[in-house]
Symmetry: C2
Subunit: 431 residues, 2 copies
Amino acid sequence: MAIAMNKMSLVQMLHAIEQGEYSAEALIHACFDHIEAREPEVKAWQYQLDRSAYLSHYRDNQSFYEASQLKGLPIGIKDIIDTKDMPTEMGSPIHKGRQPIEDASCVALIRQAGGMVLGKTVTTEFAYFKPGKTQNPADLARTPGGSSSGSAAAVADGMVPVALGSQTAASVIRPAAYCGSIGYVGSRGEYSLRGGQPLAQSLDSLGLFSRYVEDIQLLRAILLRQSASVANANFAAKKPKRILFCRGELVGETSPAMNEAMQALADKLVAQGVEVIELEAGTRLQEMVDHHGNIMAWEVCRNLVLESQQPDLLSAPLKQLIDDGLSMDRETYLSSLKAAEACCDWLWSSNSNIDAVLAPAASDIAPLGHDKTGSPHMSRPWQAMGLPVITLPGMTDDNHLPLGIQLIGKPRTDDELLQVAKWVESLLVKA
Amino acid sequence: MAIAMNKMSLVQMLHAIEQGEYSAEALIHACFDHIEAREPEVKAWQYQLDRSAYLSHYRDNQSFYEASQLKGLPIGIKDIIDTKDMPTEMGSPIHKGRQPIEDASCVALIRQAGGMVLGKTVTTEFAYFKPGKTQNPADLARTPGGSSSGSAAAVADGMVPVALGSQTAASVIRPAAYCGSIGYVGSRGEYSLRGGQPLAQSLDSLGLFSRYVEDIQLLRAILLRQSASVANANFAAKKPKRILFCRGELVGETSPAMNEAMQALADKLVAQGVEVIELEAGTRLQEMVDHHGNIMAWEVCRNLVLESQQPDLLSAPLKQLIDDGLSMDRETYLSSLKAAEACCDWLWSSNSNIDAVLAPAASDIAPLGHDKTGSPHMSRPWQAMGLPVITLPGMTDDNHLPLGIQLIGKPRTDDELLQVAKWVESLLVKA
């Protein structure tokens, strides 16, 4: 059975256009057909071009798009990332109708490559905890996770092949895990964050959502302005030799279903001849959860200056975070930064010969309800260390709800991590 | 002889207002008197409120300013930092008339504390090499240095007590050294850079200009949202026990005049009972100059995406930097990042018990002419390591032109560095 047009990967779509199998317009229509059917329930979009506006812009610039790398195919942008032609409201009434004067550099690069911004995807309030309107496409009664809620839901559901997000705590990994998409977080410092509204400078990372690892590799090459030859050399899949297995209990509580899924994947890796090594971390990663929280509180209240002047328009959890940051001792902040650095040194010097860490991407399937976005614990340690991370879908519970796992790489080894992820992806698809 | 009103420190001005010695308006007038006399030659301002607009805004909000910490006193903002009520043109024709929709967080914090933005100070093109119109107030025939040319010149000349800048290579330290002001660069990650237009994420730091160290301490406390009691505890001067003496030749070429000034200051320290230890660095710091250049080229071309779409409006050196970054091998970039980290580890593990490094802030006095901004070499190594740095004036050549020295601290020990700088400042004033 052929894959539905709207569920193809971006790379597959581009190949189909190249081969004359589908036109770009036919693929664009397939995405809009799906959005029109599903958006009333999923509510992934904060702002969205309608079909006629999209096509009209596409046709006005058709020769540019036809000659371009991304052929005018659609992409979603988290509403914390500035766009010059669409509002960027950051999930807050403070910024209702806020219209940036420039594209963020990540948006400019995608547009330059011929990607078209279909719209802005729902974010929680300033990429922190207060949920937007989005519902989980795998089960509408559940949270999509946050903060990149709309990007994860839109991609998982097949509305767009790819979307941009950002992560400061768990804002890419958790919604990807809950919705059943791929979510990738770049190493700290890896991408230009110009025009992405910052939350915490020691933690913020750019994130990407897709349904196939190959699309992450493609977008990464565009965001790094890499030539086709450099990019192609990185696109292979690579079977890992050694995977470090991080049980959920090393970080926090995980459900029996998640623990079983993790064990099943570890068994599968062993059956493939991969050496799976049990991580022994003592209480280090649990402590890292708190250190991450300290760094975030200290820095958030010094970034959200304009907003903390309007406390009545902030949610209670965000006000609390700002108050925590303001009352924090600087020594606490600095010692948490040092602890994160020391933990990173310890992790990779004790395990220098492994290809990736395998860990739960969330504690469980997405929780029921829409008033919270689930626990960020499973991401905090890795984010505090600034590591590249990718969540892969494919494991599920008895009700076929997504149980995301994550692979974590050494600092700045994003290419190598994606190659390993591409190999593990093939294992999960075969499941 | 009493100090001229426009040459007082911000702290002295606030004290004079408190004591009823001068009114805020009288001090504001003194600044404007000086600007009107000197701006036609110094050309520090890209955009500037005139006296009547300033006073009218002050009087409309007089009760706020009178109750505020900074009393409505004026500050300059480098034109690479966004302001919601003044254009931010980044020294480039590409952004002529560009009007941001929000204040950068550093601007918002200063305004919240009752500082008034008098105007935007001249920057080189995107804080890189192409000079703006500013002339060195110590000798108009000379460059003020860059990129924070206007901030350094305005403060050194007595137009405003303090100004904000930024540094990616030498953009605070060099112009401060050339013009004869204090320039302070915060540790990497120390301050929110929200709304400051980024050039290179692994190198960009916020900078501050003043004529007295106490003003840097005051502004730092405001930018960190510290309470008065926390801030006051950091305001002491501290006599250092051990200073590591870094001769210019360890980094690059320095003039005989600079070498003499450095030796004279080292002798003065020894005479005060400070242990001055000669740094032995082999070629490490010279290599760091090149590593810094690599990191900068790789990252700049991925931040200036919008701008590199308009190559005809870019200067030749900036186009070259972008081309260098685009053609650079990723391994080169990553190995330069690693080298900077390793150099930082080496420096502080080999010299863990020193209070600060003393080094030349520039190779010489400001060069003659206005077509270049002087060599950035003397700053590149420290900036690549992300260290806090402060330039102090006070040393001069035979013609009384400023020869800046810099003090460099361990990562994130900004408070301790400023305390040491305050003590060294007293030594230089006594000279």
